[in-house]
Symmetry: C2
């Protein structure tokens, strides 16, 4: 059997699986899967070099399925090839064709969309929310370049999916970085979910756009094995990444599946019979012709190990920068402390990489970027792409810190949630958090961030970690310590930093845990619980209250989730009284502390901005405007105390 | 003085204001403003037809400043022209040049970035988070077309900003809809914040991209008045929207401001002197040459009025659809009930418009779309653009319902937050909310949505409304009632709908308030507070508990923020006990209820998914997997009761 005949036969066999497994699951997207029949076959049985016995082999080519709903055909091919899966090498076994029958079941690893976190390591990232795959592939490609690994990252995208702006952020990024080890394939089947795709997403327009983006576009018949073989293995001209636009038929091989509006619908038992009658397996055995080649070279050891860091000496940390004097004086913005720590982490480990979205001179990731330009990824003004590139870098063993204003990271919350679903080891750092930046106004203030990341923090990942760890330090020392801890934590973490300078509160040898809190002032009739900038405002309030003879305690609750022993650690008793103050909108610390208090029968009041912020020249102006200045905190404390 | 000389003189005068006002504010972006000097002058003094005395005149051309940080030059022109501002016509006055000195002050309406909500109605949307302006302009343009108004929407974008994917979603949208009443101007000054822009964002590449997107690109010298006059007023060829690419100089007129990395920095007092010496006002008075023309025609009345709706008769509501039988049986998915209600609202008012992102056959906005194709806006797979288009439609008096899966709306949270900052009258509807959809897995489940919208719900807008109202109905009747209430509410609201069918619990004449709750089962030693799908699961738990002799109450807490009288309405006493159950991650209902309980000294326990969901064939499978099935609720209730 020749190559084309073998591919065709295998494509038919895979479609038969797809039709049957989605029918058995009573849900899924058989029409999308079938449109990828020949592309999947050429890629997974011929073009990709990968290690079926060891999906963690870093030399293997990788596949990112951006149009995640088409995943059954990938499962079918992987099972047919006997690829290994599992959560780690010690708990791995071969996927079998029989396993395909468990698609979408609660105790199956074959999820409805790619979900590597539950144990399908052929994939590097959870997909299913569209438009993210090219960015993930770019991160994997960047990591391969950093590690000197000769491999290719293939990514399959839908045509309708290409309407997502992130796709074009990612293509700009591929062009900027000449990432020729990423090969994008658009599956141009001409149909979306509810209708045909727009002419703006036709194969012709896609080719024109790709060319305008400085990429090399190759348009092929996506069911022609020879054309696919050539296009998928074509050599990129002059540093131009290749985009393959494959014209395909949605529901290839099965008439019933080729109707508009048949997206995401499995066939009935009767329709399956008719479909299998259409999908006739040619005589002969394709298996001798088709077998994926192994990657060359020995398997490198996975990069591991603790990044050891000493106690901070802020003045030494700042050496060579304009911040030495501020560090000596003990008044330093936490964004500066973060930038200095990131630079120090970069010196300690070459696994640390940093990304920014054109604000590195505000987030101070530039301190890292100037010293380690090869490990600094300027993503320009495109936060979505940045977040998914970071997820790709993490999947390849890097420790990426992705930086922007806390407000601008909101742009990437969908990508960040998908990174959390992937158990990605990514660190997001949002500067200018809360309202204290003042003058620029609400469009630059991170005020919903703790609610979003806090919600992720409430759930355990398949690895048993929180979906996210939120860190909101109030001073330079705690910023240093928590940044070092998050670098060594294998999971998604979010650090908030502040624009204004804040005084240093902690000694350099203070011991921090990633998830924890510090009792700054014990005892009192009321305990004020604060984080970030409001720790300082609360200290002022405490002084004012003390002057009136009222003794209050103060806790710096710098993390979410709260530690399991939070109530005991802060000495919370039944009938005790708490006042939680934070300069983000509700949904971060307050809800979590209130829940802890309400579980114990204690009283808690929560103070968050009472109205939307606006511009104000100083932090004090705006804190007063939203009802969070020291005076407002003291007044509320007195009200709580009756 | 000829036109070009007059424009030039005015441009110099505006730059002088920009330099002085940002210096006085001690922050701001003078270099960006100065790059727009001639573009602003030609637009605001010559090309735009608008009503300086009545910024609410719907016949006026509009300006969207996508690169919001450049706003001082717009303020300067508006003040120089004596434009009127204020929160409404009764509280309006002329802006003066003296007002410019208050830029960014806490009691000024001249915010650091465009902020119409605080009273600057020359703008339709808050900007400052980049990449959103073209989409807003598209919404304004669509509304003008629907209303038969002959006006043009101008939008100013940065070149670096064009890296944001949303820009290209918006340009696809303009091309698809042939929105020739939108005129995009790219301010190609070649510099971003931290560096020069990438070659991917150069004027040449921008022109190539725009052409590939099917638009008509005109490249001009952005400091050449005649070239700008021609380009800004050029007639679109063959239904092709025009994109003007204006090559400009960042910091035009002031050498100090032309350095890389000078983004977002005001000049010192000394530098201001030097700058003013460079910005020499030519002799002669440009004011007789330059005066914006008024729009033609009478001012139409603003569209107002209540959309009156009867009590629901589900079977009649479903007439002409396949859902009649289900409606008669009283078991209907809330997403279907929503779609049927939306169709009914469309019949009641032509202000109602609907948007979807290629999932209208899942959200059931297609029920509206089929009957009102002119008022149905298919946005394809581009949620960010959809959200901002909706904000634009709202600013023009429409009542837009923007639909997608709750999960996919996460993609647009930045745009939605900016819509909230704009006090936009937009309704977002997220279907497939929570975990009950089961089979598709976590990439399709809306689980962080209540935390995000709930955080917006915690803050008051300048209009005195909550930043968002969250609605999570459990049955078809409450979905109908709440959808009608949100249509009549002038503010941002978010409705969650469910994939599975749920039984009808409420009578058609049940009275609902937009913000409220329903006590379904009063009394008991413990009150279970639930919303959405978990109301039904809680009912099952109540039955099981009753069988064991334990009497519990049940509250359907369908909205956030909680009503002010929530604790009293549900009969919460000091020492009382609550159990909150919800199938979203923490941060929605639980935090708010816990805060209410902790304020009163009651006890509350919160149950949310204990681990990340995965695929499971049925809602029951997945609820059990995450610890939220009736059995888990009953067990927790017993534990709380001790």
């Amino acid at each position: 059997m020749g190559f084309a005949e073998a591919v065709h036969a295998k494509a038919v066999a895979l479609c038969r699986h797809v039709v049957r497994m989605t029918a058995a699951a009573e849900s899924g997207h058989p029409s999308s899967g079938c449109s990828l029949a020949h592309i999947t076959t050429v890629l997974m049985y011929h073009t990709m070099r990968y290690d079926l016995a060891n999906p963690w082999n870093p030399r293997s080519d990788r596949l990112v399925l951006s149009e995640g709903h088409a995943v059954p055909i990938i499962y079918a091919a992987y099972a047919d090839l006997g690829g290994v899966f599992g959560t780690d090498p010690a708990h791995a076994r071969k996927l079998t064709v029989e396993d395909l029958g468990s698609l979408r079941e609660i105790d199956s690893l074959l999820d409805g969309h790619p979900n590597p976190a539950i144990g399908f390591p052929f994939f590097d990232a959870a997909t299913g929310s569209l438009g993210q795959g090219i960015s993930v592939a770019a991160g994997l490609g960047l990591a391969a370049r950093l590690d000197g690994l000769d491999k290719t990252i293939y990514v399959l995208c839908g045509d309708g999916e290409s309407r997502e702006g992130q796709i074009w952020e990612a293509l700009d990024f591929l062009a900027d970085r000449k990432l020729t080890n990423v090969r994008v394939v658009f599956n141009a089947n001409g149909m979306g979910q509810s209708d045909y795709v727009s002419p703006q997403q036709s194969a012709e327009t896609l080719a024109k756009k790709a060319k305008a983006y400085g990429l090399h576009a190759i348009t092929v018949d996506g069911h022609d094995p020879e054309a696919l073989r050539k296009a998928l293995a074509a050599r990129p001209p002059k540093g131009k990444p290749i985009v393959v636009i494959a014209r395909t038929v949605k529901g290839w091989g099965v008439k019933e599946l080729q109707q508009v509006g048949y997206h995401g619908k499995p066939l009935s038992a009767k329709e399956v019979e008719a479909a299998l009658a259409e999908l006739v397996l040619p005589a002969g055995d394709p298996d001798f012709t088709l077998c994926p080649p192994m990657p060359k070279g020995e398997v490198p050891a996975a990069p591991r190990g603790v990044i050891a860091m000493p106690d901070p000496d802020l003045a030494r940390l700042a050496e060579g920068t304009k911040f030495v004097a501020a560090a000596q004086k003990g008044k330093l913005a936490t964004r500066v402390a973060f930038g200095l720590t990131l630079r120090a982490l970069g010196r300690a480990s070459d696994r640390v990489v940093a990304l920014d979205a054109d604000v590195s001179n505000s987030t101070f990731s530039e301190l890292f970027g100037k010293e380690f330009p090869d490990r600094f990824v300027e993503c320009r003004i495109a936060e979505q792409n940045m977040a998914s590139v970071a997820a790709g870098l993490a999947a390849a063993g890097k420790v990426p810190f992705a930086n922007s204003f806390a407000k601008f990271l909101v742009r990437a919350y969908d990508q960040i949630e998908m990174a959390a679903n992937s158990c990605a080891n990514v660190k997001f750092v949002g500067s200018h958090s809360g309202v204290s930046l003042g003058a620029d106004g609400p469009s630059q203030m991170g005020v919903v961030d703790t609610a979003f990341f806090g919600s992720l923090a409430s759930v355990r990942t398949p690895k048993g970690h929180p979906g996210a760890v939120v860190l909101n330090p109030c001073d330079a020392v705690s910023t240093y310590k928590l940044t070092c801890l998050m670098a060594n934590y294998d999971g998604l973490a979010y650090l908030r930093t502040l624009r204004p300078d804040t005084p240093v509160l902690y000694r350099p040898d203070e011991v921090f845990h990633l998830i924890g809190q510090k009792v700054l002032v014990p005892g009192g009739d009321l305990t004020i619980v604060a984080w970030g900038y409001l720790v300082h405002e609360a200290r002022k309030a405490l002084e004012a209250l003390r002057a009136e003879g009222l003794a209050c305690g103060l806790v710096d609750a710098y993390s979410l989730p709260l530690a399991d022993d939070f109530p005991d650690a802060i000495g919370l008793r039944e009938g005790g009284r708490l006042l939680v103050v934070e300069d983000n909108y509700a949904g971060g610390l307050g809800g979590a502390v209130a829940a802890a208090a309400a579980a114990r029968g204690a009283r808690a009041a929560c103070l968050t901005p009472e109205r939307m912020p606006k511009s104000g020249k100083t932090a004090d102006d705006i804190l007063k405007f939203v009802g969070l200045d020291a005076g407002a905190i003291a007044r509320r404390a007195k009200a709580v105390l009756g």
